[in-house]
């Protein structure tokens, strides 16, 4: 297992390295001059040249990329005009637009996206697994049909529609909940949860559908197995059968999928964060792409990429731990 993990981690670094190369390549192939954008609307050629020099955009691409890698390993010193700013390793560089450290920008936003992802995950597991289980136990009945319809509707509706409907109903009409504003967990846990409730619900409604379907089919599959029939013959109660055996059988794929979804959630939070005004990584990425801010784009892509890669490794490990039939070598 240790060897497997080490190999996967090594592979993950390679994937992330390739990711940075791809982002750099796209950046230099895409239209738009970051120096012009950073310089402002009406700059003369001399000024644009000064800004280009200041952003080190004059260097050949491979030199710029090499400096980026150096910064990741050893940090970097930058001029602020009045002094020198040291950017500690892993240094993603300074934002082209306002010279703020990318690490700082990302660090400010990771808790927001993490709050969104983990909270939503807890809710979608609760909803998804619960619904799936119920649907399996009421197979063929009205309950199952209703649950299937509701979960399908959830999957089919985009987050900005569900999110806005939730805002309309619970914030605007009923006024039970505040329009979400991100409050850091450490500052006020109650307000944090209260304000995140709607974004969590919006995401959970969408994600829980596939968990419901997966749980339902896994539970049904397990309940149809020979050993369950044997247990039944021995007089083991339904509750024990479902709790101890059927659910356990359904767990490995659910856990693996959760890990992967959690990872991708870091990269897919754009619409949810924008709609609910949550200053997370998704919003940062959108803003940076708009102004062609390469250091921030690379930083966010690396962090979200790392989350996805890590989630995949964790998913594989959890699968092996929860399902003894799987061996990791």
């Amino acid at each position: 297992m240790t060897g497997y993990i080490l190999r996967r981690v090594g592979g993950a670094f390679l994937v992330l390295l390739v990711l940075t190369v791809v982002v750099y390549a796209f950046f230099y192939l895409a239209p738009g001059d970051p120096a012009r954008l950073a310089c402002g609307q009406r700059c003369n050629p001399q000024q644009i040249a000064q800004v280009r020099e200041q952003l080190a955009l004059d260097d050949p691409v491979h030199v710029q990329y090499w400096h980026f890698l150096q910064g990741l390993v050893a940090g970097h010193d930058y001029s602020t005009g009045t002094g020198v700013l040291h950017c500690d390793a892993p240094c993603f560089g300074l934002s082209y637009r306002n010279d703020q450290q990318v690490t700082e920008l990302i660090t400010q936003r990771v808790p927001v996206t993490a709050s969104l992802a983990f909270g939503a995950m807890a809710l979608w597991l609760l909803l998804g697994v619960g619904t799936g289980l119920l649907a399996a136990l009421r197979r063929g009945g009205v309950t199952e049909r209703v649950l299937t319809a509701v979960t399908l509707a959830g999957t089919a509706t985009p987050v900005f529609i569900i999110g806005l409907l939730l805002l309309m109903v619970f914030c605007a009409q009923l006024q039970w909940l505040p329009f979400p504003t991100y409050v850091p967990l450490a500052e006020d846990p109650e307000q944090w949860a209260w304000n995140m409730l709607l974004p969590w619900t919006a995401l959970a409604l969408i994600e829980s559908a596939k968990y419901a379907r997966m749980t339902r089919s896994s539970v049904l599959e397990t309940l149809a197995e020979d050993h369950i029939r044997t247990f039944r013959a021995y007089g083991v109660g339904e509750r024990a059968l479902v709790g101890r055996h059927a659910l356990r059988g359904a767990l490995p794929p659910v856990i693996a999928l959760t890990a992967i979804d959690l990872g991708t959630m870091f990269g897919n939070a754009v619409l949810t964060e924008t709609l609910f005004g949550l200053p997370g990584l998704g919003q940062l990425l959108v803003q940076s792409v708009r102004v062609i801010d390469l250091p921030v784009i690379v930083g966010v892509v690396l962090v979200t990429g790392a989350a996805v890669v890590l989630a995949n490794i964790v998913a594989d490990i959890l699968y092996a731990v929860t399902d003894r039939r799987v061996a990791l070598t």
Binding site: G32, G40, Q50, G81, I161, A172, F179, F276
Partner: protein, 574 residues
Amino acid sequence: MRQLPLISRRVAAAAVGVVLVAGAAACGPEGNSGDAKSGGAGGKPQKGGTLTVLNSQPQEDFDPARLYTSGGGNVPSLVFRTLTTRNRENGEAGAKVVPDLATDLGKPSKNATVWTYTLKEGLTYEDGTKITSADIKYGIERSFAAELSGGAPYLRDWLVGGEDYEGPYKGGKGLDSIETPDDRTIVFHLKKPEGEFPYLATQTQFAPVPKAKDKGTKYEEHPVSSGPYKVVQNTGDGERLVLERNPHWSEKTDKERHAYPDRIDVKSGLDSAVINQRLSTGSGADAAAVTTDTNLGPAELAQVGSDKELAGRVGTGHFGYTNYLAFNPKVKPFDNPKVRQAIAYAVNRTSVVNAAGGSSLAEPATTYLPNQKSFGHTPYDHFPAGRTGNPEKAKELLKQAGYDDGLTITLTHSTAKDFETSPEIASAIQDGLKKAGITVRLQGLEDNDYKEKVHSVKDEPGLFLAHWGADWPSGGPFLAPIFDGRQIVKDGYNFNSAQLDEKSVNDEIDAINKLTDLDAAAKRWGALDKKIGEQALTVPLFHPVYKRVFGKDVKNVVISDWTGVLDISQVAVK
């Protein structure tokens, strides 16, 4: 040029807007008149409370050197005082320039090449230290540094030695054309007469910056306030900005700002549909909330039309701004004036206005200058297309130009959903021109690509959608960057898209710039606009209108013709 805040940023928002009004969007916004020019909740405005600002765009830059906002901006003007400022009054009166840190609008030399300002007495920063003329000089000098680029270009173009100056960070050299003979006097030496210098002195680059507190690119994290509020929180790259009272600000030296609320809480990064919903609902803190960058969309205006209470909370304003069709006369067939005139006749402005959100959000334009007195607006319509175009006249002109069987042209536009240079506007142009036998091929470019191409002398397309906004409410910053031949930028961002370099036009611009009587100058700008219009180098399409909703508890709403939006410095929430 100040950017027009986006009417709607996301397809999602637009879609949701439609959902919100459940089909009412089809009616469009025509006929809505929920104006609240000086409205808000009743009662005398009082000090206290927290004003919330809900915005879509974060305040990414908060360094006075970097900001490029007409009249010093809305939120920035609460922290940065400048030599002069905009008059904080409703409508036309608000387009006037008035003293701020200075005692008057400045004393020009006889030919307006030297401007002298005296600072008021008793001016202090947030830490109680005295504001001196040297601080204003330093604030201007640092705006030349490449590290702090982004501001308006005028100082570089107007000040003697400005074109080569690289700011104080390289070698610590100052700019000799700004003199500070004593703590309260500052003198500017200009390359040529500039009668509108008092307008330029409203830009945030004229805010004082104490040299000892300058941290270069890090200064924006906590700029030292000279205004009624100081920054207590600036996080998430301007997503959240919290301002509190500056105890050392005195209203005795500041007649323009009221500073009623104790605290101003700016929350950004919100979806435009959500902002409008929150302001409309106005629950909790949102009752005392406003927006400085989010317009009501057509769908939301339909909702306003059926709700009297809500209609009373919608402010209407006009910012000097023109959306137009731009020609590159160096590209065939647009080198032929008759072709340009034919297109001007063929345009269906009603379709264009509808594509921009309807008549509540856009007013059809036939002049380049915005239709406000301060710009020197002089009505003209050289190629009358009527409300829906004049295809017959257009066909006749095309025949004269040698295109008896019609014409096929390409219109370049941005793919950004900004309702300015967007596909919707381009399609409306395409439909109008079709009736005149002009087949329009649409070329939609990604927004950054679009900007690069249309502002490049080398790559400029023959016909494209363009827009221009006021740096201050006068004809000068409107006409000179677009039609002054000496402002053609060959390797940078060029805005003179017609690449017009005509001696008579250049000379008239110089002659008007000499005038220090701003009313007299306005008349001449209007006349110049009318004269240039004859050449059909642009086809003015529409001037945008701002419609913005504010919270139930917001009082003392002031909307001037300078900004076109509610002025935060006047708002009270108690």
